[in-house]
């Protein structure tokens, strides 16, 4: 069963961290990623650049509308994700609770939709 672990946090708080805090934080993420791998749960994972680097695109009546910034202004922003493959929601909750992002921010767990594709 695959889940997305969507990691939300306050990116301004993140930007205000000192060099040492950043290094310590990075070590936690590295350890966590390693742990996910050891569990056999890790499928993929990335961190995202801040929403100040985001571009929003819509096509309205055939016209491309390209705007600067994120889709929605919120207190916590999507900062990264993991895709995991685990037995059930309890394991996914375990993975989310151990993620460093769950301490200062919020993890949203979303099951990945599986499609019944035609064979051949």
């Amino acid at each position: 069963m695959r889940y997305m672990l969507l990691i939300y946090g306050d990116e301004r708080a993140y930007a205000a961290l000192s060099e040492e805090e950043l290094a310590a934080g990075m070590q936690q993420w590295t350890d966590y990623t390693k742990w996910l791998g050891e569990q056999g749960w890790m499928k993929a994972g990335d961190a995202l650049q801040p929403t100040s680097d985001a571009t929003t695109v819509r096509v309205q009546g055939g016209e491309r509308v390209v705007t600067d910034g994120p889709f929605a202004e919120t207190k916590e922003q999507l900062g990264g994700y993991y895709e995991i493959d685990v037995a059930n929601l309890d394991d996914a909750i375990e993975a989310a609770a151990r993620c460093p992002g769950s301490v200062h921010g919020t993890i949203e767990l979303r099951p990945i939709m599986e499609f019944d594709l035609p064979q051949g």
């Binding site: 069963m1 037995a87 059930n88 929601l89 309890d90 996914a92 909750i93 767990l109 099951p111 019944d116």
Partner: protein, 419 residues
């Protein structure tokens, strides 16, 4: 009268189905979910099995093992359904389930009780709390959606939708159908107990409509008994069961013939259910000997001190105040502090009680029982004007008609006692 009662009044075998439905439906559904991994398939098959029983038992007589007959018939219905209407990927999964089902025994002694899995799944923290309540009452308790809607003054479609969404989430988010492993047990057990106590409390003092909903209290007690019977000895499960039995033992004395509230100190203690009290006290004594205290055991111990007092003036208020103190250390919160303050007022007088009540004003300003407790103390201190004001504030905040009526009487009495 419930639908189940209505079925049971005419025909003896219909009555047998009715009683069986109450006790065996949850068990059969739990076994079928275990085998099929599919809530809807399990419930539909069990429903069909009960319908078949209603048709056949009056003619053919009640089988020796009615419960096993229901599970076996439901299993056969599930096999028929799986053969009939599954396609694609679902069909592959279905044939795996079929194999599981076909290995299910016909021997009732070997059909395991899977209701623990069902209870923990229905009370999973990833489900919204109102869905946990509705799903537990529906699948474990065997209540109809109509009965649940009536109990919570909601509409049938709303309850139905809540249950459909919860089942969908169990399936799509892969909430496991299992008893939690040891490292999750304590937390999940607390979650189950919270759901059961919530059901009980809605029956104990309904926020709207008829004040005491006995059927809901009975349901919560029955569910807690099932949990207690299936889990290894757990002091908090027993503590909750004892607490519910003690609170519910006062049901006939808590309101008068006109449905008006009667305070604990004014209740006719002969009308308490002394069989229930005896059962609860014995259970609690045995449980406290395990020396693993918890919030439910403490609350039961407090209720037990009331139950043990033959007359109100025999109540051991200093001990009740001490137990609330212990509860506050375990689960700090302003409502526990308020209860402790009331007990202190009974033990040491209204002055010391009020001293403990006043600092809670900020946190409990929106809670009607804070204002009514404060008003009672002010009355005892003969500060009538302040008491009246506090009673009025309580009456504004109360929602249950029985409580509003009670507070209106208090206001009238306080006004009349003036100079």
């Amino acid at each position: 009268m419930t639908e189940r009662e209505a079925v049971g009044t005419t025909d003896r075998s219909a009555g047998a189905v009715d009683r069986l439905f109450r006790h065996e439906r949850g068990r059969a559904v739990a076994a079928l979910i275990r085998a099929t991994g599919d809530f809807d398939l399990a419930e539909e098959s069990v429903q069909e099995a009960f319908e078949a029983a209603l048709r056949r038992w009056p003619r053919e007589g009640v089988p020796v093992s009615p419960g096993a007959w229901i599970v076996t018939t439901a299993r056969n219905r599930a096999i028929d359904r799986l053969r009939r209407d599954r396609v694609g990927r679902a069909k592959v999964e279905a044939s795996e389930r079929l194999r599981e089902l076909q290995t299910m025994t016909d021997d009732p002694a070997e059909i395991p009780d899977e209701r623990l899995r069902l209870i923990f799944t229905c009370c999973h923290p990833a489900l919204p709390i109102d869905a946990r309540v509705a799903l537990t009452l529906r699948t474990v308790g065997g209540l109809t959606t109509r009965e649940i809607a009536r109990a919570f003054l909601s509409s049938e479609p709303a309850i139905q939708q809540r249950i459909v969404r919860a089942k969908r989430k169990i399936r799509e988010a892969a909430i496991p159908y299992r008893v939690p492993p040891p490292e999750l047990m304590r937390n999940r057990r607390d979650g189950v107990l919270a759901v059961l106590y919530l059901i009980f409390n809605e029956g104990y003092g309904a926020t709207q409509g008829t004040y005491i909903r006995r059927d809901l209290c009975d349901e919560a007690i029955w569910l807690t008994r099932v949990l207690n019977g299936l889990l290894p000895v757990d002091p908090e499960v027993r503590g909750l069961l004892a607490l519910m039995l003690l609170q519910h033992s006062r049901r006939d004395a808590r309101t008068d013939d006109a449905g008006r509230l009667v305070l604990l100190q004014d209740q006719d203690r002969a009308r308490w259910d002394h069989d229930a009290i005896d059962e609860a006290l014995a259970m609690l004594d045995e449980t406290l000997e395990l020396r693993a205290p918890g919030p439910y055991q403490l609350q039961a111990a407090i209720a037990a001190l009331h139950a043990r007092a033959p007359r109100p003036e025999h109540t051991d208020w200093p001990q009740i105040a001490a137990l609330y103190g212990a509860l506050a250390r375990m689960e700090p919160g302003p409502v526990v502090e308020l209860n402790r303050a009331v007990a202190v007022a009974m033990a040491d007088g209204p002055g010391p009680g009020l001293t403990l009540v006043e600092p809670l004003a900020d946190r409990l300003d929106g809670y009607h029982l804070f204002h009514s407790a404060r008003a009672d103390l002010l009355m005892r201190l003969e500060r009538r004007e302040e008491a009246l004001e506090a009673y009025r504030r309580a009456a504004e905040l109360a929602t249950a008609p029985a409580e509003r009526e009670f507070l209106a009487r208090r206001i009238a009495e306080a006004s009349a006692s003036g100079p």
